[in-house]
Amino acid sequence: MYEEEYQQIKDILHRLQVDSNSKIVFLVDKNGQQIAVEGDMRGVDATSLASLTAGNVAATDGLAKLIGEKEFSILFHEGERDNIHISLVAQRVILVVIFDEKSSLGLVRLRVKKASQELERTFEQLLRKAEADRGSMANRFDSPFAEITDEDIDSLFSE
């Protein structure tokens, strides 16, 4: 992930959160790794949210395949106070919007659609950049783990 695109993603999420009048907007990859978040996360366990969302999407994906669908691109969970709207962006990342009665499903869907298109463009740009870098940077840009030692690893478990 590059700084520039990361900032772009944050901006898109922020706009989505304001425009859709929602509480939290959250981006996760399909393996359950959190990518970015906007909104008030106090009292919400972000890691668990990411992992369960990915599990949820994976299970729904499995269901889709069973009945011969490619995917279900939108999931919606309605609660008494809060609701969760989950959608797939560019078939690779998961966009989660949490909202209450200050917003509505219609508004969220509309804004999510717009934001998804923007996110798709950003991810394409990101991919192209990564692709281009793979050749030229491979030798110059050493992974910080190239020189990791056994002592480094042992020290993680020292307590």
Partner: protein, 194 residues
């Protein structure tokens, strides 16, 4: 797939505990959860049936500290061991960085161990991994039971590629952290190669 976030200086690795039903995968996680200090761990999420059998997965995020300035976080998952949950097991293996196979030492469960190991190999292959190359650790659990088979015999039947193998009693924590440490080490060593 290890997720390295250079902006936030974080590495996230996914470790999956695999094995036959009732072999003690969840018990391993429960012990790790109980014995880790509160700042280093997240919530232990257990998606289980009313009789406490794992239905989809258990999940425990663990912060181990920093390596070369990068915050190292391990996401530990277990699969549901029961044979008929195979579709769920496949999903959980997606994006895995390291696997722990928990074998049940009881003689009567040996067949189940072998079946589960073959299932692991097959499911990994479907996700594009090979058990031969993926960071992998073996654990013989329930060593305290009188019906436990000799470790040598189990090693002969279950060890796949000379992977690190540990004897454990997950109920009282014996061998649990040794197993985790070994797999974490393999995963981080793998990063070195990339």
């Amino acid at each position: 797939m290890t997720f390295i976030n250079y902006a936030a200086r974080e590495i996230n690795c996914k470790i999956v505990y695999y094995g036959p039903g009732l072999c003690g995968k969840t018990t391993n996680l429960q012990w790790i959860y109980d014995k880790t200090n509160p700042q280093a761990k997240g919530k232990l999420i257990s998606l289980a049936t009313e009789t406490d059998r794992t239905l989809f997965f258990d999940f425990l995020p663990l912060d181990l500290g920093t390596v070369r300035g990068f915050k190292t976080r391990f996401h530990l998952y277990t699969v549901p061991g029961q044979v008929f949950y195979d579709a769920s097991r496949k999903l959980i293996l997606k994006g895995v960085d390291g696997v722990v196979f928990v074998a049940d030492s009881q003689e009567a469960r040996m067949e189940a161990n072998i079946e589960s190991l073959q299932n692991l190999e097959k499911n990994l292959r479907e996700q594009g991994y090979e058990l031969k190359t993926v960071p992998y650790v073996l654990q013989f659990n329930k060593r305290d039971l009188p019906t436990a088979l000799p470790a040598d015999q189990m090693y002969g039947q279950l060890n796949f590629k000379g992977e690190p193998t540990f004897e454990a009693v997950a109920m009282n924590g014996t061998g649990v952290f040794d197993t985790l440490k070994a797999v974490a080490k393999l995963v981080l060593t793998e990063l070195k190669k990339k």
